[in-house]
């Protein structure tokens, strides 16, 4: 895929230009056929006039047969040109949308992270709606080409029938269309307001239903219902205001175009009465004047469409051109056979951290207690790569090399940070827990990696599968929402344990677990990563205030006011340190 090496275009107009150039073959072929299609459509009213004039009026049977054959041929042309032209264009549009989406998704998921102010929902909009809108440019171009072709052809025919007639049509039509545009800003404003209120009503309904249990518990259903009624009525008001504006506009445009078309027809009728043009020409003019409104109407709307594509392209460019957060490191992780790399945090200043020193040696299980949760979060942000090197002072190194100089892929293999707010993904328990072992990605494989059951047992997640008929194939819905918070937390812990990273960082991994289970988990984590035969293979850092977890740590570091204030074993701190006792023991 083109998702990596090629530098993406970084402005909206370059994105649009690229959409055109990389689809030029299909675009040219499709547009050509669409122009032919429009010419054939324009020929239909002319042919009607010819048929009335040459066949119906004189009662000429042979001419009628010729006419029917000609009309048949014309319709074959109409159908064929559209069918093959539009298909070429659809292929181009669908492919362009697909390519854009792939690029945006690859950028959003860039391993080194991107700096963007857009929220998840907005990023989703860029990758879906905006990517599609960019591709629709490939729809607008042939439409414009077809409309221009049809307009020129109609004008040519009208001028050849009678010059003043042609001039009236060509001057009058743009005037009528311009007139229609006058109301456009007001309509746009009201429709925007209507859509906004409809969106708000929908969001409110969704929000209320999502919170239905809390609402119920308090008997707040009526208040909620009333709130929805209010916004529903406001939404109705806005919809009616928009419909009124659109109604007026429809009235004006219908009357305007009907007056123009009939004005032309009446003038042509007068000329026909005068003998200046034939009856057949008169009928053709009636049809053409009617037909011409279509391509011209399209030309009037198309600028707003193109503007929309442009706006979407700009938003897409915003994502594609976003800076990458972490620098590209190349250094390998300095690994000693059979030992985890050492993790050193030296005088770290970031967020609320104010010169934190912290070391996790190979083979150690270190607990960190933070008096302020902001300190813990800042530490996690730096360790997980959520902060770029220019966002913090001090150094963080792994195996003696500064973290951001390391090859990112290998650094992440050596240092795994499982965030507190767990993320599970659509799939099964097995695909989630075995995320990094290869079988995680390919859903449907039933083979379990080594240590799967042990990891589940250690994190007390085995009951999640034991109580379920599908076992480890138990389905996990979007973002793990089919599971309880406690189940999600334990599965995430199992995933981290199964990945067996040399250095593992956990953040409050047992907050949704009861006390008895918490003790079992603490002992199991210790046994799994720091058992008797583990040696120095693993190092573990647990940021937590759980006494159960802290009790199994080799060492506990107490953070206060952004730095390490005290250090010792849980038992020592518990007896000697009054503040520690207050923070941890309950």
């Amino acid at each position: 895929m083109s998702r990596s090496r090629v530098m993406p275009p970084v402005t909206g107009s370059r994105i649009l230009w690229r959409a055109v150039t990389r689809n030029r073959k299909r675009l040219v072929a499709g547009s050509g056929l669409i122009c032919l299609h429009q010419l054939a459509e324009a020929a239909v009213p002319i042919l009607i006039g010819v048929g009335i004039d040459r066949a119906v009026a004189p009662g000429d049977g042979r001419a009628l047969l010729v006419w029917v054959a000609a009309l048949g041929g014309l319709f074959v042309a109409v159908t064929t040109c559209y069918r093959f032209g539009a298909r070429q264009l659809m292929l181009a549009i669908a492919n362009e949308g697909y390519l854009m989406r792939g690029e945006v998704a690859a950028k959003i998921m860039h391993p080194r992270g991107i700096r963007t102010e857009l929220r998840a929902g907005e990023l989703l909009t860029v990758s879906s709606t905006d990517a599609d809108n960019v591709s629709y440019l490939l729809d607008y171009i042939p439409r414009i080409a077809g409309a221009v072709t049809a307009t020129i052809a109609c004008a040519g025919v009208l001028l050849s029938i009678d010059v003043p007639l042609g001039v009236l049509v060509l001057a009058g039509t743009p005037l009528v269309l311009l007139g229609m545009q006058a109301a456009a800003p007001r309509i746009t404003r009201r429709v925007t307001r209507q859509q906004e209120l409809a969106g708000r009503a929908s969001a409110l309904a969704t929000d209320l239903v999502t919170g239905i249990r809390p609402l119920r518990g308090l008997g707040a259903e009526r208040a909620a219902d009333q709130r929805y009624r209010d916004i529903s009525r406001q939404s109705l008001g806005a919809a009616l205001a928009a419909a009124r504006a659109q109604g007026w506009n429809l009235a004006a445009s219908t009357a305007g175009s009907a007056l123009l078309a009939s004005g032309v027809a009446v003038l042509a009728g007068w000329f026909a009465l005068d003998g200046r043009i034939s009856v057949g020409e008169f009928i053709a003019v009636i049809g053409l004047a009617q037909f011409l409104l279509e391509p011209l109407g399209l030309l009037a709307i198309v600028p707003s469409w193109v503007a929309e594509a442009r706006a979407s392209a700009d938003r897409t460019a915003l994502v594609l051109a976003a800076d990458v957060r972490l620098p590209e490191g190349t250094a390998p992780v300095g690994l000693v056979e059979g030992a985890a790399p050492r993790l050193d945090v030296v005088r770290l200043r970031h967020g609320s951290l104010d010169g934190l020193d912290l070391t996790v040696r190979p083979g150690e299980l270190v607990g960190v207690v933070a008096a302020r949760s902001a300190d813990a979060e800042a530490l996690m942000r730096v360790l997980s790569g959520g902060a770029s090197p220019d966002e913090y002072d001090g150094t963080v190194s792994l195996g003696g090399t500064v973290l951001h100089e390391l090859d990112l892929d290998r650094a992440r293999a050596a240092l795994l940070v499982e965030p507190h707010r767990t993320d599970l993904f659509t799939g099964t328990v097995a695909t989630n827990v075995a995320a990094t072992t290869g079988s995680g990605a390919a859903a449907g494989t039933t083979a379990r990696p080594d240590g799967f059951d042990e990891a589940l047992a250690a994190s007390a997640a085995n009951e999640v599968v034991a109580d379920h008929p599908d076992g480890a194939e138990r389905a996990v819905a979007e973002r793990g929402m089919s599971l309880s918070g406690g189940q999600r937390q334990r599965l995430a812990l199992a995933r981290a344990l199964l990945a067996r990273p040399p250095v593992l960082v956990l953040h409050d991994p047992t907050t949704a677990v009861d006390a008895v289970t918490e003790h079992a988990i603490a002992r199991a984590v210790r046994a799994l990563r720091h058992g008797e035969d583990s040696g120095e293979r693993y190092a573990t850092l647990v940021v937590t205030s759980s006494p159960a977890l802290l009790a199994v740590a080799d060492r506990v570091v107490v953070l206060d006011a952004g730095r390490a204030r005290a250090e010792g074993r849980h038992a020592e701190l518990g007896t000697a340190d009054e503040d520690y006792r207050r923070m941890v023991l309950r």
Binding site: I52, A57, R586
Partner: protein, 597 residues
């Protein structure tokens, strides 16, 4: 679509009956809209008819003055056509909008009062899709599709009538196209509908994969899952692309069939005109008018046919909405002879089972004196939450009864019940919008000062004051994000505002880390001060703070007494407490070996 089975979907007959009912209730508006629509179509047809007359005058060699009356008629028709077209589109939008607003309000109101077990079976997702996407789909159809569709339909009918007016045989010739249009539609719809459905599924899957990957970016990066996630998105995206191409290929063939119908209709009109003109029964002008009328219909009929599948999709959504709206209201209990006296909460010999499962509660009794605080303790699956839900009247016991002040909860209608008993569950939700409005859900007419006081009671005053706009800060989805602990404080503040005599807290502090948990415990104590309180306790400090502790195991009460009494007794509670306390690190606490099951 098995999940659908849990909420009703109206069938075609029910949907139509509902629509007729709604139109009947707005008979005046409906008749007005229809009348104006017919007028608009008639005015739109007039010019072609008049021009036909003009063609004949031309052929008859009339003088130039013959154009004047025709011109007047056409100009007047153009103006009338314009005004009525605008008015009719507004009238239809207004009628549709009004019906839709009534429907969506009814659906949301009904959704909010679904009984708990029904809600569990239906699942939140199914309910959300009704109040969200379904309402939106019908709304979009009402504003975008329905008015044009009705106008096209009327124009088509009136044009045919005009042709019949010229000569019935010309009308019949034009009518020849109708079965071909219908055939084209019947060829297309059954072929495209399943592809569209698959395309929607593919697009939804694509969005879902993308969204969860974006939201779970930290985890994706941590586990180096970028490549598999992108591959998954790519597969879904390619599938959606291929489906939209294949459905469009069907569409181009449909257009070809529509073109064929146009050709047949137009040819039939001209050939019929030719024969009738030769027989002297119709004028050349009449034939020309019929042909022009028919040609003018190409676009409106095309619009009608091409938006038919949108209308069909909206119809499916409508059936799902009408299904919910049509659910009968929950039966309201008869008012009890006397209102509950006092805040004594009683549960007597209660049994309960979830559908298809074994009994969760085997005859549990509980009595909480007015103002007393009782903690419910037990391992996971002991039935604590079920008992709490029964005590709150959310669930109805299979046997036995729950009562407040001597009146069974089942005899109180929901508002009367909730004004006395409120429950806070672990499932917190911060309602989107200004924080003060969230709190006012519990007491709609609460003043700013009352809200501030409630926040102060639960210890939230300080951080709320620090928010960008204080208690007017927009919170929840899309607004300022509150932590789990803050969200639970808000839930407690709502309880304070609601002010029930009986409060039931179900694990309201379980999810927070231990510092937050301590603050929340204090907040919960303050929020429930003076109320009859039942606390489902995971943190045993909550149990220690209670007047009495009830230990529930396997659906039975196994111990009951004060914290100190139960510790002294050395039973189940004492074991749990030892595990909880576990102050001494190093050698594992003995209590753990007594583990749950």
């Amino acid at each position: 679509m098995s999940i659908d089975s849990s909420l009703p979907i109206a069938d075609r007959r029910e949907t139509l009956r509902w629509l007729r009912g709604e139109l009947g209730r707005r008979r005046g508006g409906a008749i007005l809209a229809a009348g104006i629509g017919v007028l608009a179509a008639a005015a739109a047809v007039t010019p072609a008819y008049a021009l036909g007359v003009l063609v004949d005058r031309v052929r008859a060699g009339a003088g130039a003055a013959a154009v004047v009356p025709i011109a007047v008629v056409i100009a007047a028709a153009a103006v009338v056509a314009g005004v009525t077209a605008g008015l009719s589109s507004y009238r239809i939008a207004r009628l549709g909008g009004d019906i839709l607003a009534t429907l969506r309000e009814r659906v949301v109101a009904r959704a909010l009062t679904l009984p708990a077990n029904r809600l569990e079976r239906a699942g939140a997702g199914e309910l959300l899709s009704r109040v969200g996407p379904d309402v939106a789909a019908v709304g979009k159809a009402v504003t975008d599709v329905v008015p044009t569709m009705i106008a096209s339909l009327l124009l088509g009918t009136l044009s045919l009538l005009a042709m019949v007016g010229i000569d019935w045989r010309l009308g019949l010739a034009g009518l020849l196209a109708v079965p071909l249009y219908v055939l084209a539609l019947r060829w297309y719809l059954p072929r495209s509908a399943p592809v569209y459905a698959r395309e929607r599924v593919a697009v939804a899957e694509r969005s879902q994969l993308l969204l969860e990957s974006v939201q779970g970016r930290r985890t994706v990066h941590a586990y180096r899952l970028e490549a598999p996630h992108l591959a998954g998105i790519d597969t879904a995206s390619a599938r959606a692309r291929d489906l939209s191409v294949s459905v469009f290929t069907l569409f181009t063939r449909f257009v070809g069939r529509v073109n064929r119908a146009e050709f047949v209709g137009l040819t039939a009109i001209v050939v019929t005109g030719f024969l009738l003109v030769r027989a002297g029964q119709v004028t050349v002008g009449g034939t020309a008018a019929a042909a022009v009328l028919f040609h003018r219909l190409f676009n409106p009929i095309g619009m009608l046919l091409y938006t038919f599948d949108e209308l069909q999709a909206a119809g499916a959504s409508l059936a799902r909405l009408v299904g919910v709206a049509g659910m009968p209201d929950e039966p309201r209990p008869q008012e009890p002879a006397a209102p509950p006296s006092g805040a004594l909460l009683e549960v007597r010999d209660v049994r309960y089972r979830y559908p298809g499962g074994p009994d969760v509660l085997h005859g549990v009794s509980l009595r909480i004196e007015p103002g007393e605080r009782v903690a419910l303790v037990g391992s996971t699956g002991a039935g604590k939450s079920t008992l709490a839900a029964i005590a709150a009247g959310i669930l109805r016991p299979a046997a036995g009864l729950a009562a407040i002040g001597g009146v069974p909860l089942a005899d109180l209608d929901p508002p009367a019940l909730r004004s006395r008993v409120a429950i806070i569950s672990q499932e917190t939700h911060v309602f989107a919008g200004p924080l003060v409005e969230d709190l006012r859900l519990a007491r709609p007419r609460a003043t700013e000062a009352e809200v501030t006081a409630a926040l102060a009671t639960v210890g939230a005053a300080a951080w709320v004051a620090d928010l960008p706009d204080g208690q007017h800060t927009v919170v929840g989805e899309g607004g300022h994000e509150l932590t789990a602990a803050q969200a639970q404080q808000i839930a407690l503040a709502r309880l304070v505002l609601a002010g029930p005599a009986v409060a039931i807290l179900d694990e309201a502090t379980a999810e927070a880390g231990s510092f937050g948990a301590r603050d929340l415990e204090a907040a919960a104590l303050a929020a429930t001060a003076g109320r009859t309180t039942l606390v489902v306790a995971h943190r045993l400090t909550q149990a220690r703070a209670a007047d009495r502790v009830v230990v529930l195991e396997h659906g039975r009460v196994v111990e009951e007494g004060t914290h100190d009494e139960l510790l002294a007794a050395g039973g189940r509670y004492a074991a749990l407490w030892a595990a909880w306390e576990a102050r001494t690190p190093g050698p594992r606490p003995t209590a753990v070996s007594l583990s749950t099951d």
